[in-house]
């Protein structure tokens, strides 16, 4: 389904600030596979997702979707197949547009925008139905500007927007990290309901190791631009968070200093 081959991304190449964010990363995802990604700050997780989405262009390597190479396609031309939920709730939705207008934009993800009405009455019924499934009361607020919603509501809306038109690949980049624990949980439950249980091929970055092991079929750990651990199937079933910490030490030769990662266990 997704095939990443030897992807290298260098920021400020050739300057003293040169930074290799991705170092020959290769990764294949099977159709329907839900994969979680963990790793410390600056490991290259977001950069990997952005290269797959086309927001960044990699210096080397290729990205293929369903056998078709998309390495040089700009982000907006990959959007028909790929959807991306960002960490910052402000990024996934347009603040000054209403709830229904945001949904209408997502309903046409990847399509050409025409000179016909953006929202028909039948769309509204559909939007309300889908908003009802979030159980956040948003179905009553179709005409509210999104800037009036809370961060959690905006993130839930962003999730719903990605699934309004089913994507081939979902990229979730710490999409619950900036929410309070209770809201993060709600959004996570929605992630299971709207994405995991629908069998959408997914790459989900998380800072919560327990979550990383509990959700999905496969877990990848990144460090300094490389994938240093890749577990799935029975190996992963019996894995605990402390196993993961040990494996990180073995693979990287460093202590896992990311307090954020460890503390996040409880969530």
């Amino acid at each position: 389904m997704l095939n990443v081959k030897s992807l290298t991304k260098i920021f400020y190449p050739g300057s003293i600030n040169e930074r290799v964010a991705l170092d020959r990363v290769s990764l294949s995802l099977e159709k329907g596979q839900f994969t979680t990604i963990i790793g410390g700050n600056g490991a290259g997780k977001s950069t990997l997702l952005k290269c797959i989405a086309g927001i960044y262009q990699a210096e080397e390597g290729t990205v293929s979707l369903n056998g078709e190479e998309v390495t040089r396609l700009p982000d907006y031309r990959r959007a028909a197949s790929i959807c991306h939920v960002f960490q910052d709730p402000m990024v996934g939705t347009a603040a000054s547009l209403t709830v229904e207008e945001n949904l209408a934009l997502a309903l046409r993800r990847g399509d050409k925008r025409r000179l016909r009405w953006a929202i028909a009455d039948s769309n509204r019924v559909f939007f309300q139905e889908r908003l009802l499934s979030l159980q956040l009361g948003l179905e009553e607020r179709l005409n509210s500007p999104v800037k009036l919603l809370s961060g959690g509501q905006r993130q839930a809306l962003a999730l719903l927007m990605t699934t309004l038109k089913e994507p081939k690949l979902a990229l979730l980049d710490e999409h619950t990290a900036s929410l309070d624990p209770k809201t993060a949980n709600t959004v996570l439950e929605l992630t299971e309901k709207l994405i995991e249980n629908q069998g959408i091929t997914t790459l989900m970055v998380t800072h919560n190791m327990e979550q990383a092991l509990k959700m999905g079929h496969r877990t990848i750990m990144m460090h300094e631009g490389k994938i240093i651990l890749d577990v799935s199937g029975p190996d992963r079933k019996n894995l605990t968070v402390s196993d993961l910490v040990d494996m990180f030490y073995e693979a990287s030769g460093e202590e896992l200093q990311q307090d954020r990662l460890l503390l996040a266990k409880g969530r």
Binding site: A53, I55, P74, D75, Y76, R77, A79, A80, C83, H84, F86, M90, V91, G92, T93, A94, A95, S96, L97, E101, A104, L105, A106, R108, R109, G110, D111, R113, R114, L115, R116, W117, A118, I119, M161
Partner: protein, 299 residues
């Protein structure tokens, strides 16, 4: 103020409102301060005036203006999106270039239309007075354009333009080439501005190569006046407020001139100060409130 002055201000306000709709589209919807308008307003005036002066039907001559205006917006859009020139500089480049083009089009710094037949003459045909005809023409055009702009902003394309001005990353992640949306918005905006120039030239009875200087500031002043006086939330409300803002601006100018507060030479300074004040007002009120708050705490 005499009735003549008031009628003149209202009419000019309506005709400039067409331009202000364009400025609203770039400044408020696309979040792009576009200086092309200083060149595209006289462009519309120049082409329509020269065509009418050489015997073209005034309606046809008027319709050519928005086409050329759209091309001007297209050029600014391409400079900005394809060559990464800043919005301000892209607009300045186009409007400076247009100055020479406008001179070429008119073959002189100005063209008089005093004895020519204009679109306004057709509106006063059935025995209506000239002024009624002018109101009718301006009113019809403004109402049609308000409805068109309002409708456009509710189409798929219009929504994509609005979202581009709001959140470019999001719009691209939904599969829209935001560069194209900016180009589209700039073209439509400058089409409106050029049409405004065409209507103003026929109303005034002349086109002048310098009539565009400061258009952007007048546009911003009108947009802001409309927002302050008619602070409405709906899109239709905002678009209509733009028209009122333009009329109120013209009436305010006529009033201060009349009262002798300022002279004609001071007009641009007055407008620039007005816009500056409006732009810094939110910051000032924030500081003021913060100060008041800290005083209360220390008391």
């Amino acid at each position: 103020m005499s009735a003549v002055v008031i009628h003149g201000a209202i009419l000019l306000g309506l005709l400039y409102a067409i331009m202000v709709l364009g400025v609203f589209l770039t400044f408020r919807v696309l979040n792009y301060a576009d200086l092309t308008v200083d060149g595209s307003l006289p462009l519309g005036a120049a082409i329509t005036a020269s065509l009418i002066a050489t015997g073209t039907n005034p309606f046809l001559a008027t319709l050519v203006a928005p086409l050329l205006g759209a091309v001007a917006g297209l050029i600014t859009g391409i400079l900005h999106t394809k060559f990464s020139i800043t919005p301000l500089l892209s607009g300045i480049l186009t409007s400076i270039g247009l100055y020479s083009i406008n001179l070429r089009i008119m073959n002189s710094p100005n063209i008089s239309l005093l004895r020519a037949t204009t679109v306004y003459d057709y509106f006063s045909l059935g025995g209506l007075s000239a002024r009624t005809g002018e109101y009718l023409a301006a009113g019809v055009v403004v109402v049609i354009l308000v409805l068109l702009l309002y409708s456009f902003l509710h189409t798929e394309s219009g929504l994509a333009v609005r979202a581009t001005g709001d959140n470019e990353i999001m719009m691209r992640s939904q599969g829209v080439n935001t560069d194209n949306m900016k180009i589209l918005g700039l073209s439509l905006s400058n089409a409106l501005v050029a049409l405004s120039g065409a209507m103003i030239a026929q109303y005034q009875g002349f086109a002048d190569v310098n009539m565009g200087i400061g258009t952007i500031i007048v546009g911003l002043a009108s947009v802001i006046i409309g927002e302050v006086l008619f602070g409405v939330k709906s899109i239709l409300g905002k678009v209509v407020a733009v028209v009122f803002g333009s009329v109120v601006y013209r009436l305010a100018i006529a009033l201060v001139l009349r009262l002798g507060f300022i002279e004609h030479t001071d007009l641009r300074l007055f407008t620039a100060l007005l816009v500056t004040l409006a732009l810094i007002a939110p910051e000032l009120s924030k500081k003021f409130q913060a100060n008041a708050g800290s005083k209360r705490l220390s008391a």
